[in-house]
Subunit: 355 residues, 2 copies
DNA sequence: CTGTTAGCGCATTCAT
DNA sequence: ATGAATGCGCTAACAG
């Protein structure tokens, strides 16, 4: 009544039915060697008849390659990552790789455990968005010589292969947009300063502010978590300042959302009284009222290119280049400033025009 | 100069260093048999010294189990699914399963190919959100006897194990909310009628309308894709009707977004002139102005419970129950009507109060 | 309690 | 062009 393992059909079954050797079957499957048309046909028929599917597990054990890569992400529910995943999926699918997915939940311990699992599963490589700025994860993959590329959130100060948005430039461009509009009282909701993208965006912001000599006042520089709640809280504080900012720059997509709510709740109209600028572009950015100006990261391309870089790394690894001369590579993708309706000149700007 | 495969350390290496047999090492790793404390300690030390990680591939080949499940999703960028994935991840992680991820891109062909890959990788089971209402996918896994549970979008009319929101009830409750508020001119943006959740939501909607005898006018019943663009287009059409609806019910989260934009563009105020009600709850729902009333699916729990059901199925499968009497199970989870600010009585309701 | 042995399904020499 | 034999790393019998 109980059958423990319903033995699936193997290459031997196919060989027997096609009256050839297992090696021949293997050859036609992998195109490893040329086999006569007659036997090729017989093999194909046998495979179809038996509904045979090669066992990747056995193949992997033999070849040492799994054709799977690990993807570790800090928070799938941040809509930026699904976009990235989509890009990864496309490039991976095209190259015959499957994706083993790990969500670290912004927890270094979970990140470590997930990575261990990936290592045990012998993934051919890993695509990693870290959950903090520690180099522990980098050390782990480097020590075990796992082909890896770090994406979006990258470890700084080590020889990692990385790909991310040019966040310095993005921060610079965003601030410059606000400055060019005539704003001087510009606040920034800077997110988590232990994450590379935020650090770099802030640096770009400071650079842009420095050029025209606008001081970054302490009360305008705020950090915190990446939640909409944080954006909401900081937003309310900012709006209650005696010297209220005329523009607010958010380095994160969710904080922007909370900020919008704070504005509505304080009956501050946007962009008339306060301009706001954020990051990333999702369905809601376009449909909010006013439509939100944001700096759009090429999320999908980030995933696609990241995967391509990883494939490159895997090839290098397999060809035995232990320490390729230029092992160390950083790819930066351009973000795009998409100006919609939430940024405009400050109300006072008209007054200053007269000579 | 080139070293093709940097042989990783095996169970034999550990055994040698610990001066025990490989079987003993295996026993301490898996707790299969009791080994003396002395040897246990030696083994642990050897493993640590060698930084040994068991090879899941080899283990799988031997045991016939991969401890991996496949998860196929139609569109990761629909924020509903990341939420589900998160739940799956939690339950899977706890039980020691890894997730092999497939995004079908709403394309049956990609869904089929992804499933084939999962089968070749010998996943222990699959968690599937279909991309259409065909039973092809069900047939595929049923024929190969792969433990599977269908989630959210499920094939109807077959003996599949399923879990989803109680969509009929959700549709009913949503419509009833609008009716109780006093609305009679209620339009519905019904999404894709080849998807089980939408079909059932519409049925619930019709049932609720039928009780008080409100007709569902053809011009108020609209279907289309699941994009915000569709919501926008349909929204504009609805608002230009001579007999404009006083409430609009969206069976999908993205169409709701487009609808909101249509309202803003037509300068129709919500909820004063038109109430709107949608599905799902994300950061933006809470932060829109007005805050959006929605029917909230327990997305994360859907994922968690779905994974638990799958584990159950896998156990059943392993114990050899070829056709368990109650192989056929459907779990329905309750959605929650979260009333915020986008639904209110129609403007005309005050007029009708007088006897 | 511990060690020896035999495959899991496949790709790969090496003969032919 | 084809087939026979070998072993990838591990666990499950079995024997001691």
């Amino acid at each position: 009544m109980a059958k423990r393992k319903s033995k699936s059909t193997t290459i031997y079954d196919v060989a027997r039915l096609a009256t050839v050797s297992p090696a021949t079957v293997s050859a036609v499957i992998n195109g490893t060697a040329t086999v006569s048309p007659t036997r090729t046909k017989r093999v194909h028929e046998a495979m179809a008849a038996l509904d045979y599917h090669p066992d990747h597990i056995a193949r992997s054990l033999k070849t040492g390659k799994t054709n799977a890569i690990g993807m570790v992400v800090p928070d799938v529910t941040n809509p930026f990552y699904p976009e990235v995943i989509r890009g990864v999926e496309q490039a991976a699918g095209k190259a015959g790789y499957s994706i083993i997915f790990v969500n670290s939940n912004e927890d270094p311990e979970q990140e470590r455990r997930g990575l261990q699992a990936l290592i045990s599963r012998r993934v051919d490589g890993a695509l990693i968005a870290c959950c903090d700025n520690s180099t522990a994860t980098f050390d782990l993959v480097a020590r075990r010589n796992i082909p890896s590329v770090f994406l979006d959130r990258v470890p700084l100060g080590v020889n990692a292969i990385r790909i991310s948005t040019d966040n310095f430039k993005a921060g610079f461009v965003g601030a410059k947009h606000l400055i060019d509009l005539g704003h001087e009282r510009i606040a920034i909701v800077a997110g988590r300063m232990d994450l590379s993208p935020h650090v770099q965006r802030v640096e770009g912001f400071r650079k842009a502010m420095q050029e025209p000599g606008i001081a970054v006042r302490d009360e305008y520089f705020r950090t915190g978590s990446l939640s909409s709640e944080t954006g909401y809280q900081i937003g309310k504080q900012l709006l209650q300042l005696n010297r209220r900012p005329t523009a607010i720059f958010c380095t994160n997509n969710k904080t922007l959302l909370g900020l919008v709510r704070a504005l509505a709740e304080c009956s501050v109209s946007c962009p008339d009284e306060v301009s706001i600028l954020g990051f990333d572009d999702f369905a809601w950015t376009e449909n909010f009222h006013p439509r939100l100006s944001t700096i759009v990261q090429p999320a999908q391309e980030l995933g696609r290119r990241g995967m391509e870089m990883l494939i490159q790394q895997i090839k290098l690894h397999d060809s035995g280049e232990t320490n390729p001369p230029s092992a160390y590579e950083t790819v930066l993708l351009e973000a795009e400033l998409r100006i919609r309706e939430s940024t405009a000149p400050p109300a006072s700007v008209g007054l200053r025009v007269a000579p």
